[in-house]
Amino acid sequence: MSTQGRHHSTLWFALSGILVLCAMLVGVMIGPAGPTWWRVPLELLNRLPFISIDSGVSKADWNIVWLIRAPRVVLAAIVGSTLSISGASYQGVFRNPLVDPYLLGVASGAGLGATLVFAFSGTETSTWLIDPLPLAAFLGALLAVLVTYTVGTSFGRSRSAVTLVLAGVAVTSLTTAIQTFILQRNNDVIRQVFSWVLGRLSSANWGDVRLVLPYVVVSTVVLLLHRRLLDVLRVGDDEAVALGVNIRRVRLTIVLAATLGTAAVVAVSGLIGFVGIIVPHAVRLIAGSSYRRVLPLSVLLGAAFLVAADIPSRVLADPAETPIGVVTAFFGAPFFLILLRTRKNL
């Protein structure tokens, strides 16, 4: 890469990093209850070793910041970065810019798993010793992807990316049909399922963060390691093979890693749409489409985007919560359109 190009991407990395930190700071400062916003940074400084500032934040207020807002902000960052890097990776591995992380049946599988829990557990599950909801969503997602992958790669000798996507569409239809059938027979849970499907970060606690962190770290590290190979895949299967890529192994690894991350975050946050398409594309528009920049920048900007989107979702309809999926689409879509538009004028 030219020196200038390298210089350019360093700048973008620095800016994105700052953006994430700013978004997270604002995220812990703002909320319907709790201390006055400007006292929060003071208290954060006070909590650092060797610094003592009287911020005037009471113990109860600090609990709101640390036990309610902070895990929510951290979870939003994790979910945003995971959906973004998974989206970028799926788009690369299938060479299709419109693919989102919920392709291959991840979303509908998770939805089915969650629906089964809502329909057959009977009681409020969050009081159980172990909440079965994330587990069921996770298993549903993984199972759906497993079926998609087995079916998609065994039909036809071509094993092309298109077959896999088509299999994903078929599996999605099937799981959605089963889900609809179950919902129809248990229509008392439709509201719960619907609110889960729209995505939520409101009930986030540190336990959720601990639950997803191992999966997300593994997924992100594996995907980042493949960023150069994703560039080689851009010339098509045949040429990638001729350039020495073991395409089946690489594709399987990337799909599994992206799915693992997606399934884990879906399990705790529900389905938050749009992030996995809009963030990688925004990154491509500003920093070029080499995956060596797209993947790491997607991690940073994805985190910043979802943390920022979560703030209006808390305060817009105060005291009620606006589903974050609504916010991401509401702010994301116009932003995306503006980017496309400016790009066109270049």
């Binding site: 890469m1 030219s2 190009g5 390691l225 493949h226 150069r228 190979l229 560039d231 080689v232 851009r234 010339v235 098509g236 045949d238 040429e239 093979v241 001729a242 350039l243 020495g244 890529v245 073991n246 395409i247 491509r284 070029g288 489409s289 080499s290």
Partner: protein, 260 residues
């Protein structure tokens, strides 16, 4: 310096035989050109050598059977330029040529200074340096062909497979591209196998021609032996005149039937 041997190579797609018992030995530094009508199996032979299709029989580079080698090893020994390479629009010329170094870069590592040296040499040799930061989608047909050849050369493979290298080029760029391949072959001792439709050009540049028809090799030898009007009539269904220039060049000209 490598030889490429085909022995009883047979390829079928869903039961349809595309190549039947193809035998040949391409020596180190030799240029073999596959000719024949559309669907004769030329591309399939090249794809078998590149490890892209299943086949029966044997294809071996320096006595190593293609399917027993790893994709990486193959890419270090055989560079393949398809008929219509997939050119990603949003990629710079430099990034594209760099892809040719993939077989030398460890799975999760980045390119080394040695890789960068190779790239810069190749780009200088093919006059691509001034395009380094251009998007590949903005290049003209002739520049693209040079670009794809540059990527293949970056593989530093002793065998170069070219599927229709001149198909989309005007006469000037056709000559440029083939002259380039010829010069590189002489400089670096490359073994070249190409598939071509322009018979005059094929005869002009290749050491040996192999005429394929319905998957079988039906004639082989130098231009004088293969490019004969009765052979062309039989296998291409063309009525053509064949001129022999004083310097040995064989020129094939299709004949218009209503001209009497």
């Amino acid at each position: 310096m490598s030889t490429l041997g085909f022995c009883d190579l047979t390829i079928s797609y869903d039961g349809d035989c595309a190549v039947k018992s193809f035998n040949n030995l391409v020596n180190s530094g030799e240029w073999l050109c596959l000719i024949g009508p559309n669907g004769a199996g030329k591309s399939s032979v090249l794809r078998a050598a590149a490890g892209l299709v299943k086949y029966s029989g044997s294809v071996a580079i320096d006595q190593k059977e293609i399917p027993t080698t790893s994709a990486k090893w193959r890419a270090q020994h055989i560079a393949y330029v398809p008929q219509t390479p997939l050119i990603p629009a949003e990629m710079t010329v430099y990034e594209y040529v760099l892809l040719g170094r993939n077989p030398y870069i460890k799975h999760f590592a980045s390119e080394t200074t040695q890789d960068i040296d190779v790239i810069e040499k190749v780009m200088t040799r093919l006059d691509l340096t001034q395009f380094a930061k251009r998007m590949v989608g903005t290049l003209s047909g002739g520049e693209r062909q040079r670009l794809v050849i540059a990527r293949a050369l970056a593989q530093e493979a002793p065998v170069l497979l070219l599927d229709e290298p001149t198909a989309a080029l005007d006469i000037g760029h056709q000559q440029q591209a083939l002259e380039l391949v010829d010069a590189l072959r002489r400089e670096q001792g490359l073994t070249v196998i190409s598939a071509m439709h322009d018979l005059t050009l094929a005869g002009l540049y290749a050491d040996r021609l192999v005429l394929m028809h319905h998957g079988a090799c039906v004639a082989s030898g130098n231009a004088q032996n293969v490019l004969r009007s009765e052979i062309l009539a039989e296998f291409y269904g063309v009525s053509a005149r064949v001129h022999h220039e004083p310097d040995g060049t064989v020129v094939v000209i299709p004949q218009r039937s209503s001209s009497n």
